[in-house]
């Protein structure tokens, strides 16, 4: 009997690093080094995962079916050791769900005057 199809909401809330990885892959396939660079850039250097933590996150996301290897990008790579990853449709949905969840939180916060975006 096949297991239930995982729902995007099953994965929420995402860890900060996982969410950032999904965001970094939102722009298309990328390899580990580039994902790390992108995360550092987006977070203004506040989030800078070590290589070990980064690949562990990639592994977990891949096992969860949120990302997958991108063999067509690997074929063009200059270094055969490089692995490229891309979002799966499920991954895209999870990222959207997480963003929505955060957006709701932000809205609640600003309703309670805890966040200074006066509407």
């Amino acid at each position: 009997m096949p297991p239930d199809r995982p729902q995007p909401s099953d994965f929420l809330p995402l860890s900060v690093l996982s969410f950032h990885v999904l965001l970094a892959l939102g722009g298309g396939p990328a390899h580990g080094y580039a994902v790390g660079k992108e995360i550092e850039r987006r977070s203004d250097g506040r989030l800078s995962p070590t290589t070990g933590a980064l690949y562990q996150a990639l592994k977990r996301l891949r096992e969860g079916g949120l990302i997958e290897r991108a063999p067509e990008a690997e074929a063009d790579s200059e270094d055969a050791r490089r692995q490229y990853f891309r979002l799966t449709p499920l991954g895209r949905q999870v990222a959207e769900a997480e963003a929505r969840r955060m957006d709701q939180l932000v809205r609640v916060a600003s309703d309670r005057k805890l966040y200074g975006r006066s509407s």
Binding site: T50, K59, L61, E63, Q83
Partner: protein, 917 residues
């Protein structure tokens, strides 16, 4: 999945240079992660790390780079740990997150510990530096031991490879007689214990053809060498069985290095021709980069051809590959059983006498044991020494932790009172010690890497397998092991110190309480341990220093100052006979003699300390050997006129050789003192005649015209060798030919300045002859003592560090004791104690601890120095003078280290001390 590194990525890695070390380290550390994770992501992680490391090298200064590496390695270790914990899937709703939580509390603990340590920079720096030095030294020496002694040889099933050697008790030779091709034929056809067997001989050849002429070492070998070692070629093929019996010319296999240097790694090199000693050879194969047999200097391999019907001389080296399950001892029994059959194979009477009279006996030893040889003992001794240094360093750091534990007793007690469990306290303390030791270990790795480079560059080149030295996972595991043990040890100190009565920390005032006294006793025990360990190291260093001193005072009976030496070989094509070769040497000697600054020139087949024996049995006129008797074997040297003078070997009787001896074939020879004493003890050997034994074909009798002092053949410490010096040109030479000669040029100017002039002279006579092994005679002598010098320097270094750490340890403990007892001292002074009484009291405390350490150390040293018996020279391993001198030195230093705090104690102002109570 294509995760194998491509050629291009390998080049990228090469560009990183020094960074490549960290990349290797990172790759090695991946073993921490589970196989599934490593297999899927390992290569990609290494690639990412390499790019980040390159980036860090470009953008960061050294501290930033070290921080980067430390963080990455910690990150890898944590990721590996997390992967090894169960339940590491993507967390879904409702699932437990326990392992992660536990981990995050460890991370929090780590952050707190870092903050705490940053507040105590003195303590942190002292701990990290001490441990870094000690761990670095241990890692460096362990790397040597691991690479040289422990790691198997780089051949498949290398434990089955054996070295074939022979003893000859009949002529007093215990080992080192090697092989002959006759024995090879016998063993190969009859022995049942071997899968393969090979013999070879190394020789210097002159390479001409493409590019500059060059002298290099060639292995002339049976084709079976490659199948015995089980090494495939990189290109083409290795030698084949039918190459063996061709005329010895034709084909050659070249080394990777030669292929790269002379042929620019040309993949189409197979089929091209090189000229060795004027003979064209077709290249049939290229070996891989790491193939270095018999030595890294061997640059080509050519087929060995020999007359299978003759017995041959003991000048071939041999190895064998044992059948699976056969031991070296069984193979030895097998070979010994074959010896009687030899006489039937080679029924030459005199040969029979040599075999039966000399009682040639096969010896089979593991190839690795043979290769590693005596270096094993030296390296283990060094590892033991740096191990002692580590123990002393641990004693010092333990001391620092004890002091800190005392300072923090209150904090610990408060935490316990607020409900921290014992487990919390242990973790708290362990995190701190692991951080400190871990940082020390990282620093140690860095130092070790640097030290290994220095050791390989400066250490004796006769340490075998030095070219293979490098850190690997085994070394990292060793360092990690040291780290874990040290962390647990130091982490336990504060907790053990606190014992069950945690609250005493709250009650304890400045006055020494019971637990304070316990700690003081612990610290005194540390002094005792440090002093005893330092004593053992100092005794070892002292014994080596005395040995080395004795060694440098040996008179080698020649004057090594300002003598230039070099070798050159004449090819058989251009110089077809001995006459033409000798004429060349004679002219070159004349030309060199006329160079400015040259005082004397001579040539010989083998300089002192050349290690070649070239032995031959000789007999005296009128005393033919009895049947079955083997006359004494002597070393043969051909020398030019002027050689004895150039080396300034003292002439004891008669005269030296003259040019006319050579031109008129007078048969005049010189003998060494040991040879003269053997044959004519107390008599005058001048005018006596001798003859090569068993050489009925050789009608020549030699007449002794002079006796010269003994010179060493292998090492300065050997027993005097019997040497026979013959003129360059003499029909019989016992196989010592005048084609390859070593020159000795004595100069009044710096010897090496002469090299360009010498090269020019040689080139002006024959452009095709390269000169090789250019060195001064002084270098040759100092190289022969380098192993002992190396051991001595390493031991002296270890002992110095031990001494310094010991002084620091004693000083800090006594100082601390004084500061803790200030109140008591104040009371004593107030009650009328003199300043000298106080300082004596403190000195006595240090003195008693040091004396106890000395006593213990002397006992240990007496037991351990016995292991050094084979390493020392002309000094007993229990030499009383060394023991007494070292003990006195150490005691004096210990007293001095206690004296400073003692003086301070004597100056305590009683009012001040009592007020602070």
């Amino acid at each position: 999945m294509s995760e194998r590194p491509t050629k291009r990525s390998r080049e990228n890695r090469g560009e990183l240079g020094a960074g490549a070390f960290w990349v290797r380290l990172y790759r090695a550390m991946l073993v921490l992660a589970p196989q599934s994770f490593r297999g899927a992501y390992g290569a990609a992680m290494v690639e990412t790390f390499a790019r980040r490391a390159a980036e860090a090298r470009r953008n960061k200064r050294l501290p930033g780079r070290l921080f980067f590496v430390g963080r990455e390695i910690l990150g890898l270790a944590l990721a590996a740990l997390r992967e090894r914990l169960p339940g590491r899937q993507m967390a879904r709703r409702g699932e437990k997150r326990r392992p992660g939580e536990r981990l995050s509390s460890v991370l929090r603990e780590t952050r707190h510990a870092i903050r705490r340590l940053a507040k105590r920079p003195g303590f942190t720096a002292a701990t990290v530096l001490t441990l870094g030095l000690a761990i670095g030294a241990n890692t460096a020496v362990f790397t040597l031991v691991d690479s040289v002694v422990l790691r198997p040889l780089p051949y498949p099933d290398s434990e089955r490879l054996v070295w074939l050697d022979h003893a000859a008790p009949g002529i007093g030779t215990e080992r080192g007689l090697d092989m002959t091709h006759g024995l090879y034929e016998l063993y190969r056809t009859e022995a049942r214990s071997f899968d393969e067997m090979a013999i070879w001989v190394t020789t210097d050849v002159t390479l001409t053809g493409t590019g500059q002429p060059e002298r290099l070492e060639a292995g002339v070998t049976t084709a079976s060498l490659f199948s015995a070692l089980r090494v495939p070629p990189r290109l083409g093929r290795t030698l084949a069985e039918n190459d063996d019996y061709s005329d010895g010319t034709g084909v050659v296999v070249i080394s990777h290095d030669l292929w790269v240097r002379r042929f620019g790694s040309d993949p189409k090199v197979i089929g091209r021709t090189i000229e060795a000693n004027g003979t064209p050879l077709e290249i049939v194969g290229v070996m891989s980069k790491d193939f270095a047999f018999p030595s890294p200097e061997t640059k080509l391999w050519a087929p060995l051809s020999y007359d299978a019907t003759s017995f041959g001389s003991f000048s071939r080296r041999g190895i064998g590959r044992l059948k699976p399950g056969v031991t070296a001892a069984e193979a030895e029994v097998d070979l010994r059983g074959l010896m009687p059959g030899l006489v039937d194979m080679y029924p030459v009477d005199q040969m029979k006498q040599v075999i039966e009279g000399a009682r040639v006996t096969p010896l089979v030893v593991g190839l690795k044991d043979h290769v590693v040889g005596d270096a094993r003992r030296t390296l283990w001794l060094l590892l033991g020494s740096v191990g002692f240094v580590l123990l002393i360093a641990c004693a010092n750091v333990g001391n620092l932790f004890l002091v800190r534990a005392e300072d923090r007793a209150r904090e610990v007690a408060v935490r316990a009172a607020l409900g921290a469990s014992r487990g919390d306290l242990v973790r708290h303390s362990l995190v701190e010690s692991t951080l400190l030791v871990g940082t020390g270990a990282l620093l140690g790795l860095l130092l070790a890497r640097w030290a290994i480079g220095a050791l390989v560059a400066l250490g004796p080149q006769n340490i075998p397998r030095l070219h293979q030295v490098g850190m690997d996972a085994g070394v990292l595991a060793f360092t990690l092991g040291l780290m874990v043990v040290a962390s647990l040890l130091f982490g336990a100190i504060p907790v053990l110190g606190s014992r069950s009565d945690l609250l005493s920390g709250l009650k304890e005032g400045a006055r020494g309480s019971t637990s304070g006294r316990v700690r003081l006793r612990a610290r005194t025990a540390l002094i005792v341990a440090q002093v005893s360990l330092a004593l053992v190291l100092l005794v070892g260093a002292g014994l080596m220093a005395r040995s080395f001193w004795n060694l440098t005072r040996i008179d080698p009976h020649f004057d090594a100052k300002s003598v230039l030496t070099f070798q050159l070989g004449l090819s058989g094509n251009d110089y077809p006979d001995r006459e033409s070769a000798v004429a060349f040497h004679q002219e070159l000697i004349e030309r060199l003699r006329s160079l400015p600054g040259v005082e004397a020139v001579g040539a010989t087949t083998c300089l002192p300390l050349c290690s070649a024996w070239n032995g031959s049995p000789i007999q005296e006129e009128g005393y033919p050997p009895e049947p079955g008797e083997v006359p004494p074997v002597v070393a043969l040297r051909r020398i030019s006129a002027g050689y004895i003078e150039a080396l300034r070997i003292p002439l004891l009787a008669g005269r030296t050789l003259k040019l006319s001896d050579q031109q008129n074939l007078t048969g005049a020879v010189l003998v060494s003192r040991a040879l003269a004493q053997l044959y004519w003890p107390g008599l005058d050997p001048i005018g006596k005649r001798i003859h090569h034994a068993f050489d009925a074909e050789d009608p020549d009798w030699y007449t002794i015209v002079g006796v010269v002092e003994d010179t060493p053949i292998r090492e300065l410490t050997e027993a005097p060798s019997r040497i026979l010096y013959m003129p360059l040109l003499h029909t019989s030479g016992g196989g010592v030919s005048p084609f390859f000669m070593s020159y000795a040029v004595r100069t009044s100017t710096p010897a090496l300045d002469l090299v360009p002039l010498v090269r020019a002279e040689v080139a002006s006579m024959d452009r095709g002859i390269p000169i090789a092994h250019v060195r001064t005679l002084g270098n040759i002598v100092s190289d022969s003592t380098i192993e002992m010098a190396f051991t001595m320097v390493m031991l002296v270094l270890a002992a110095s560090v031990a001494l310094i750490l010991g002084i620091v340890g004693i000083y800090s403990v006594i100082s601390y004791m004084v500061s803790r007892r200030q109140g008591e001292i104040g009371v004593r002074i107030a009650l009328g104690a003199e300043a000298t009484d106080i300082s004596h009291m403190v000195l006595r405390q240090g003195g008693i601890a040091a004396a106890a350490g000395l006593f213990l150390g002397l006992l240990v040293a007496l037991g351990l120095t016995r292991l050094m018996t084979a390493l020392v020279y002309d000094v007993s391993p229990t030499d009383p003078a060394t023991f007494a001198g070292v003990a006195a030195l150490l005691f004096g230093v210990a007293l001095l280290a206690s004296y400073l705090p003692a003086r301070r104690a004597a100056r305590v102002d009683p009012m001040e001390a009592l007020r602070s109570e």
